[in-house]
């Protein structure tokens, strides 16, 4: 990769700018997103700033089940963001519709409209989970080898083929 491309990628990983949009949520996830920026959790130490306009942003942080009224606006905002862009779905409602699955005015999760990079479940997703999700997104941009997930059962029991 050329030096210029490396620098650009470093800038994106070290300082992602986010835009936040609420597609009809109950506001709990939005408050936890704002709480993630306050002194106790402090997302800004990762270089994250909330910007007001999609044209300056790298990451779209979305909460809420997509209501029929907001789906066009959501697409509009996504189109206005410059490439490359990522979408983070915060909260169970954004992942799959959550409590509002089956309601007439709600379209299931955000991945019914946009390609989502990170799903952060939780009702609401706590600020710790949001930070974890953002860090995972940044890690995936670097070419780090994936960490091996620790098995749930100890290796001995796995080898014996699951205890009873």
């Amino acid at each position: 990769m050329s030096i210029l491309k490396k620098i650009i990628r470093w800038a994106r990983i070290k300082s992602p700018w986010i835009i936040h949009f609420n597609t009809g949520a109950c506001n709990a996830c939005d408050i936890e997103i704002v709480a993630a920026l306050t002194p106790r959790y402090d997302l800004e130490r990762f270089g994250v700033i909330i910007k007001g306009t999609p044209r300056h942003a790298d990451v779209l942080v979305c909460s809420g089940p997509v209501t029929l009224q907001t789906q066009d606006r959501l697409l509009r905002i996504y189109e206005q963001m410059p490439e490359p862009k990522f979408v983070v779905a915060v909260g169970t409602c954004a992942c799959s519709g959550g409590v509002f699955q089956g309601c007439y005015s709600v379209r299931a999760g955000i991945d019914s409209i946009l390609p989502v990079s990170v799903f952060i479940p939780g009702c609401p997703a706590s600020p710790k989970a949001i930070i974890d999700g953002v860090v995972k997104l940044l890690d995936s941009l670097e070419d780090k080898p994936k960490k091996e997930m620790a098995p749930v059962l100890p290796k001995k029991e796995l080898a014996q083929g699951n205890a009873t």
Binding site: L68, Q69, Q71, D72, L75, Y104, S105, R107
Partner: protein, 159 residues
Amino acid sequence: MTEEQIKQQIEHQFGYLKDAVVIKRARRLWLDVPMDKFEEVFVYLTEAMPLVRLLTITGMDEGTTFGIIYHLAAESGIILNLRIHIPRENPAIQSMTSKFSCADIYEREIKDLLGIQVLGLPEGRRYPLTDNWPDGEYPLRKDWKGLSTEKKGGTLNAQ
């Protein structure tokens, strides 16, 4: 005024409402009136009696009729729930925005979700459904089963 006093005065004023006011518990009164007498009872309650606040207007589907409940409150904390029943064919009610400007949004909600015509409602945007919601679909009616998936798509997806 206490609940008992309110009940006595209403039943005294309107002969056809004898024993019609029900006191279910402290600070809760319930009253059903026939549709043609609604206007005069409403005006009496809100002007001559201390029930000066309109909290909200609830509409519901009762099968053969629609029930509309006007929740009126006094400053002392008493709520009187005033209900009328309107027929299911060509349902229509009079707008109360001339007396309570806050009734505007509650009546729009009933119009959108139940399909009840509100006569005299001032011009304005609809609430709460989208502007491109198909006509004739009234979600709060008991026989409404949901929109089909094609109708749910936004304008961009239609291209």
